[in-house]
Symmetry: C2
Subunit: 106 residues, 2 copies
């Protein structure tokens, strides 16, 4: 797989521990604030969550909305493209549900 091949490029965007989990948390939770996302994805640090959200925004998978509340309120939602990617991830989630006990516990 050449670096420019589609799957190779996609793994450059979501090929890390947190991107898929953040996408799924947004898919399952609808519009979500950063604090909710941190609770939704156990183990993600604030820095990693911020970097992940920014990368997903860069690729128009996630959109960010700012409300002029005091303090300001920032929330994230999946874009249509992000929803499409989550649909493509559904079989992987189903596989995980069926096979998780076969995976060795780290």
């Amino acid at each position: 797989m050449r670096a420019q091949c589609p799957t190779h490029r996609l793994m450059g965007v979501i090929g890390d521990r947190w991107s898929v989990l953040v996408l799924i948390a947004l898919h399952d939770g609808g519009e979500t604030r950063t604090a909710d996302l941190r609770r939704a994805v156990e183990g993600v640090s604030q820095k990693m969550l911020t970097q992940t959200l920014r990368r997903l925004q860069d690729h128009d998978l996630v959109s960010r909305a700012v409300e002029a509340t005091v303090p300001v309120s920032v929330s994230y939602t999946l874009t249509d493209r992000g929803r499409g990617l989550c649909a493509a991830l559904a079989p992987l989630r189903a596989w995980a549900e069926t096979h998780v006990d076969d995976l060795r516990r780290d």
Copy 2:
């Protein structure tokens, strides 16, 4: 998603840049030697490929065979579980094929 939730645990196994690409290279290439895998997955270092293959073996997604040739010949193939995971990855590959041009070029 709790750390013990299936998808969270699966991302602990394949949530990195190379695991999915190595699985796909094995799926597309059948039984494959390390040198072939390095050529098949552009950009992967020998160290990263070795670590990835070992982790995929640990989780019985890949099996390793050693032939007593001179020098010794080592080849890798997907296990049934690995083939099942690749089938679950197929929609993600299809999504990438359709949407790769939408992804921002890094």
